[in-house]
């Protein structure tokens, strides 16, 4: 019965998402497609951080690797074979997962704080490669690619919807499987998990590789969506946007970060731009990022458990 309800809810959501281009202007559809791909990044971050409790601050490394891999497979900059678009996106995921495996083996023997610090410096290491070898990676400007996900904006939106749906569904299946249970055991008490015979290092690395794979897929898909690859996909502001979305949505829930990702991305790229215009006459140093960071700081201090939990608790109090 419960399964049936879920299938119906899912079908309605998908039908709604698929019908959007019928009555929404194209510029907004374009943003919506990007928001869907951004949601993949947020959910894949949640698979690692929300389920194992290890704070990965280098998620954009895998986004960038996926993005550059896919872009290079679409250009003649390296003497690489040119792959069809779907294959290059999958390759982006695989290369990201491979790098994730190596980084995971090195760092996941360490406990929490070291992992956070080491992963925090990684995006900068990878970002430097772009500037060191500008002939290959295009330097600060990045480079454009020829073949995108599809020709028209609406087709691109459907492609993004498909990629996001498949990616998020697979991640959801993984965290709801016995593997997910073991990850949660690690999050709750790592020593206890080890004591009952869970190979914690193996499962942590597994979660990290899965997380990296989908970050790579997301990065690669974004490149094929907007047709440009640039170092912003490695950069810290993107990392913080992912964190912000996941935290607002509620860590370790998949659905929460997915909705958080969609809302935050649209808020930043649509609504905040208009808010900033209101402040323009004041000549104060305010832009969309400043407002976003201020919101994040205030939310974090007032509701350290996340907005989702915070609201749930408040409702409980009012009822009780």
């Amino acid at each position: 019965m419960k399964g049936m309800k879920r299938v119906i809810a899912l079908a309605i959501t998908l039908a709604f998402a698929a019908s959007l281009p019928l009555y929404i202007p194209e510029a907004f559809i374009y943003l919506l497609g990007l928001a869907l791909l951004f949601a993949i990044l947020v959910v894949s971050w949640d698979v690692m951080v929300g389920y194992t409790g290890y704070v990965n601050l280098g998620h954009t490394v895998f986004v960038g690797i996926g993005a550059y891999t896919a872009a290079l497979l679409q250009s003649q900059r390296l003497a690489l074979p040119t792959l069809p678009v779907p294959a290059s996106i999958v390759m982006g995921g695989f290369i990201a997962a491979l790098v994730g495996l190596f980084i995971g083996i090195v760092t996941l023997r360490l406990r929490g704080y070291y992992f956070a610090l080491v992963t925090a410096i990684l995006p900068l290491v990878f970002m430097q490669t772009v500037f060191i070898w500008p002939d290959i990676f295009g330097g600060e400007e990045g480079f454009t690619i020829e073949h995108g996900l599809a020709g028209s904006v609406v087709e691109k939106y459907y492609a993004a919807l498909l990629i996001a749906f498949v990616s998020i569904a697979v991640m959801l299946l993984i965290v709801n499987s016995p593997v997910g249970l073991k990850l949660k055991a690690i999050r709750e008490d790592e020593e206890l998990a080890e004591a009952v015979g869970i190979d914690t290092v193996k499962y942590k690395i597994m979660a990290f590789v899965i997380s990296s794979f989908f970050a790579g897929i997301g990065g690669a898909a974004i490149v094929h969506y907007r047709m440009v690859v640039a170092p912003d996909l490695y950069d810290i502001p993107l990392m913080l946007l992912v964190i912000l979305s996941a935290v607002i949505g509620g860590l370790g829930t998949i659905y929460g970060p997915m909705i958080g990702g969609l809302l935050i991305y649209l808020a930043k790229n649509w609504w905040l731009k208009e808010v900033v215009d209101v402040f323009r006459f004041t000549a104060l140093p305010i832009n969309d990022d400043v407002i976003l960071y201020l919101i994040l700081i205030v939310v974090a201090i007032l509701m350290p458990e996340g907005v989702y939990q915070g609201i749930k608790e408040k409702l409980k109090k009012e009822r009780g």
């Binding site: 023997r109 704080y113 070291y114 956070a116 610090l117 080491v118 290491v125 201020l294 350290p304």
Partner: protein
Amino acid sequence: MEGLSAELLLRIIVFGAVASGIWALAASGFSLIFGVVRILNFAHGTIFVLSAYFGITLTNYGVNPYVAFVASILFAGVFGVAMYKIALSPIRESKVMVIIVTLAIALLVEQILMMTFGGHGISFPSLVEGVVYVAGVPITYKRILTFIIAVIALISLEFFITRTKTGKMIMATAEDMEAAMLIGIDTEKALVITMFVSSILAGLGGLLYSQIFATTPIVSLKALIYAFAIVILGGLGSVRGSIVAAFIVGYTLAITISLLGARWSEFVVLLTIIAILIVKPTGLYGVEE
């Protein structure tokens, strides 16, 4: 050829000393605050840069550089304490939130600085003028002064922690907060003092940096990354480890810049650190958590 390589060696020695001193200041403060309060302060690099911008602004308004120097260090300390009191103290128990909030503060300040001052490099006026020639290589007095101030500050820090009553109080809090509370130590006060000391070390580092190198808002990230790298290498929470690691990083930096060029600097330094971590995962002086 021989003369050239001797000159290069001397340049590396001087540059390495200056870089090591500055990064040791930034990293020891970061390590101190982690060791005592168990928070990763991602806004540490922001304090580093903020004190430099504060000092530069004061001198632009005609304040004497020495006065501005001292005022900026104090400003850094006050900023750190205010940040702790307002934003960090209520969420201290949640590791993830502390990281998120301090990271958001860092990016917020960076954006505001960028919009107020622009992205071009600016510098704090030299506290001393003049050049000394050693074997034909010019060494500015301000570089020598920077190194001396850094060394004095680090020795004072070591003395403060190990010899003074307040330092011992802080160390007791770091060791076991509940036990420290039980024997009557005001642990909240200890945390505030730690935050203050950590921030003035960052502030001093930033001022010394901006006296020699062009400072931009992005330097906050650079300072943070170097502090991370050094602390990872030296071992989290170990101030002494940070100082040793700062010299390793400083000289790796100097050699890389001299031989390969500046754009390789961060890449090589961070790769070195990752290589060391593969061999020794808890850093040089690190302890098992």
